[in-house]
């Protein structure tokens, strides 16, 4: 029973103090007239520097990708050349062994 009384007391409807609405409206008005943002003189330069850095990074990455592609293609051709050359020699040797084997 006591608990119910406590809850009823705590949650009962109460009227706001006089002048509450006026105080809320006044605070909203103050918030709307916010002070203007000050332009920092270094901000523009920082933006330019950031853009230049980004451009350099993207450019570097692009150049690296082109270089890697060229190196990769060259490595691929070398692998194919080397394995084909090795295969050619192995086949020749196997052929000679077969020839000797069949003539015996």
């Amino acid at each position: 029973m006591n608990l119910e009384d406590d809850l009823r007391r705590t949650l009962r409807r109460e009227s706001p103090a006089p002048g509450f609405a006026a105080r809320v409206l006044e605070r909203i008005d103050r918030a709307e007239v916010a002070p203007p943002v000050r332009e920092h003189p270094g901000r523009t330069w920082r933006a330019v520097a950031a853009s230049l850095t980004l451009t350099a990074l993207l450019g570097g990455w692009g150049a690296h990708a082109v270089y890697e592609r060229r190196e990769g293609e060259r490595a691929r051709e070398q692998v194919l050349l080397a394995l084909r050359l090795a295969g050619q020699k192995v086949r020749y040797a196997q052929g000679e062994v077969r020839t000797i084997g069949s003539s015996e």
Partner: protein, 173 residues
């Protein structure tokens, strides 16, 4: 300190046999005398890079699979304008670098055609390295493949990939 010494010793024990598979293919003065030179030096990082650029057709897929077990491919091929323009002692010099795990697989001796020596670094049942020495009157070629390799698979690769075959003397057909 003790851990460091044990670590270093283990690293050396692992590194020495692995490094032993690669042979020295520097032949001073030979390049100057040769008419044509093929020099291929591909370590494991270059092989990984090459694998990325191999195509998706059957031939190149097979090459990519073969590269998985390899850590290096080294080729030196020299073509000369005159017969016997290189010292045949080079063959002995190359063979002297090979350790006890290296076994001769095939040796071809011919008076009219090329002489070929194929030696494999046998570790158990697997071939962990291959050296092919081909000596002709006007051409000398050494191929050193480091890593696990299937020799039958290698022999099937000749003349594939849409690249013209290499004829004797280094000319493409």
């Amino acid at each position: 300190m003790r851990k460091l010494i044990i670590g270093l010793t283990l690293t050396l024990l692992i590194a020495i046999p692995a490094a032993a598979q690669r042979i020295n293919l520097d032949f001073p003065g030979l390049e100057e005398r040769a008419e044509e030179v093929v020099d291929v030096t591909l370590d494991s990082s270059m092989l990984r890079l090459a694998a990325k650029f191999l195509g998706k057709d059957n031939d190149e897929r097979e090459v990519r699979e073969m590269l998985n077990g390899l850590t290096g491919i080294y080729v030196r091929s020299y073509s000369f304008s005159k017969d016997g323009d290189y010292d045949r002692a080079l063959i002995t010099r190359i063979k002297s670098q090979l350790g006890t795990t290296w076994k001769p697989l095939v040796t071809v001796r011919s008076k009219t055609k090329e002489n070929v020596d194929i030696m494999a670094d046998m570790r158990g049942d697997k071939i962990q390295g291959l050296v092919i020495i081909s000596a002709e009157p006007r051409e000398f070629t050494v191929v050193n493949i480091v890593g696990t390799i299937d020799i039958d698979r290698l022999s099937r690769l000749e003349g594939e990939f849409g690249i013209p075959r290499i004829s004797k003397g280094g000319q493409n057909d």
